[in-house]
Symmetry: C2
Subunit: 276 residues, 2 copies
C-alpha cells in the first residue's frame, strides 16, 4: 500500500463516523498540509457515497490540524441523485472541529448528461474550452523544492518529490505572482483523484516570487474541482495569486497530468500574516 | 426600499429559522437565478452572524428553486472567531432542500491580520497582485442583453440593466469563451456585497460566443469570494469558461466596481445540457 493510501485511511467506527491518524510526514512547518487533511475527510466520504469521484470539494479550515494525532471524520449525506451525491463532513481532533467540508461526488468516467452534439472527447477539446498547461521545462530541468524559500521546515518533502521552474525567482521582486512546477509521490505511487486534493495545496505560495518569504499562509477556505482522472506520471502545476488585500489573498491552482490534460482546479482564500 | 432588498428579505420565525418569498422577477427562463437564491440565504445568515461581510460563500444547488413561492432558510453557526464566522444554511421550498450553503463571514473594512510591511492600500496594489478590469467599452457603447442569445425568456431583465461588449459574437464560432459587460439594478439601487452574489451569476454563459445557444446551464456548485465593498455605480464583469468536458463546465467570473477595484470572484461547476 502506498504512503498516501495508508496515511489517509480511515476505518468506520459507527454510523457516518470514521477514525484515522494524521501523520506528521505531510506537515508544512508544524501544521498538517490542508490538502492532506481534505484527502483524509474525502476518504471517509468515499465509503459513505455511491459515486466514485470528488467533483467539487469545499473545505473551511476552522482550527489548525494536529500532526501525529488521531482524528475522527463525521459524514452526512445531504442528497443522493442518479449522477451526483452531495454530502458534508467534519474532521475532528481532540474534540474540536478542524475542517468542515461540503462536497459533490459524481462519476468522471461517464458524461454528466447526454453529450451535446458539439462536444468532442476531452483529448480533442479546443484549447479555448480548456486550459492547456503552461510552458515549463521538464522535471529533470527544474529545481527541487527547498524549505529555505518559505523559511519553514517541510516534512512533506519526505512524501512528495517537487520540482520548480528554474527561472522563477523565490526571493521577491518578480513581475508575476506565479509558481509552476511538477509533483509526484516519492514512493512511486501514481496520482489518483484523491491525490489531486493534496497536490493543489502542496506547492509554495505563489506570491513568494513577488513578495519573498511570506512564512505560513493559513487557508480559510479551499475549493477543489477534480476534472479528470489523472494518467500515470508527473503532475504539472501552476499557481497564481489573483488578489491580495488587507492580509487576505485569493490563490488559484491548476493541475495537469502527464498527457497534458487539466485534471484539477482550485481556489483558496488565505491569510498573509508576515513577510516582505 | 430597493427591489433587491425587498425581494431578498427574510423574517426570523424561530431559532436559526427564517422565512421569505422567491420573487419571479429574477428568473432565467422558468428558474430563479442561482445567485438570487444565494443572496436570500445570505440575508438570513447576516441576521445570525456577528461579522458583516460574506467573504466566501459556497452553494450546492440540490434541486431547482421555485419562483413566486415561499422559502425557508435554516441557519447554523459552525464557529465564531474574533475576525471570522463560519456557518451553514439550507434554503427549503415545499419541504425540500434546494440550496446547501457553507460560508465564512468577516469584516472587509478591517485587515484580516496585522498588515505585513510590504502591503500597500488596495488602491496602490500593483497589478501583479490583483486582477485589473479588462478593456471594455463604456456601458453606453455596449449592447443591452437580450434573451434571444440564450434562447430563453429573461424575466431578470426587469430587475437588472445589463450591457454586453459589442464585439462579442453571441452566435458561436468565437475564438474565446469569454463574456464581458456591465450590470446595475434597474431601480437605481447601488451595488452591495450581497448584490455581488447575484451579479456573478447574472451574465450569460461564457461559452455562448464559442458554442452558440446553450440553453439553461444548471449550476451544481457556485463559490463566491467577495473581495471589497463596491463603490456606487456600474459593476463591470468578465466571465470565462475554463474547462468543458463530458457536459460539465467550470466557469470563472470577476466583478470590478466603478473605481476599477476587483470586488468579487466566483467559480462554478455547471452542466451543459444542450446547444450547438
Amino acid at each position: 500500500m502506498s504512503d498516501f493510501l495508508r496515511e489517509t485511511s480511515v476505518a468506520p467506527v459507527g454510523e457516518g463516523l470514521y477514525r484515522g491518524h494524521v501523520a506528521p510526514e505531510w506537515n508544512i512547518g508544524d501544521n498538517p498540509n490542508g490538502g492532506y487533511l481534505m484527502a483524509i475527510a474525502v476518504r471517509a466520504l468515499r465509503q459513505t457515497l455511491a459515486h466514485p469521484d470528488p467533483l467539487s470539494v469545499t473545505a473551511h479550515y476552522l482550527r489548525p490540524g494536529l500532526a501525529d494525532a488521531e482524528c475522527e471524520v463525521k459524514t452526512q449525506v445531504i442528497r443522493t441523485g442518479r449522477t451526483l451525491s452531495t454530502a458534508r463532513a467534519t474532521l475532528v481532533q481532540e474534540g474540536k472541529a478542524r475542517l468542515e467540508l461540503l462536497c459533490a461526488f459524481g462519476d468522471l468516467s461517464a458524461p454528466a448528461a447526454p453529450a451535446p452534439a458539439h462536444q468532442k472527447p476531452a483529448a480533442q477539446l479546443p484549447a479555448r474550452l480548456t486550459l492547456p498547461p503552461p510552458p515549463t521545462p521538464p522535471p529533470e530541468a527544474c529545481v527541487a523544492r527547498s524549505g529555505f524559500i518559505q523559511g519553514i521546515d517541510l516534512p512533506i518533502g519526505q512524501r512528495l518529490d517537487m520540482r520548480l521552474h528554474p527561472d522563477q525567482a523565490m526571493a521577491g521582486g518578480a513581475s508575476q505572482a506565479e509558481v509552476t512546477g511538477w509533483l509526484r509521490f516519492r514512493d512511486g505511487a501514481e496520482p489518483s483523484t484523491d491525490a489531486l486534493l493534496l497536490f493543489v495545496d502542496a506547492f509554495p505560495p505563489s506570491m513568494i516570487p513577488v513578495l519573498g518569504n511570506v512564512g505560513w499562509v493559513p487557508t480559510i477556505e479551499l475549493t477543489v474541482h477534480v476534472r479528470r482522472r489523472p494518467a500515470p506520471g508527473w503532475i504539472q502545476g501552476r499557481l497564481c495569486t489573483e488578489d491580495l488585500d488587507a492580509g487576505r489573498m485569493i490563490e488559484s491552482a491548476c493541475l495537469w497530468d502527464s498527457e497534458g490534460q487539466l485534471v484539477a482546479q482550485s481556489r483558496q482564500l488565505g491569510l498573509v500574516l508576515a513577510g516582505g
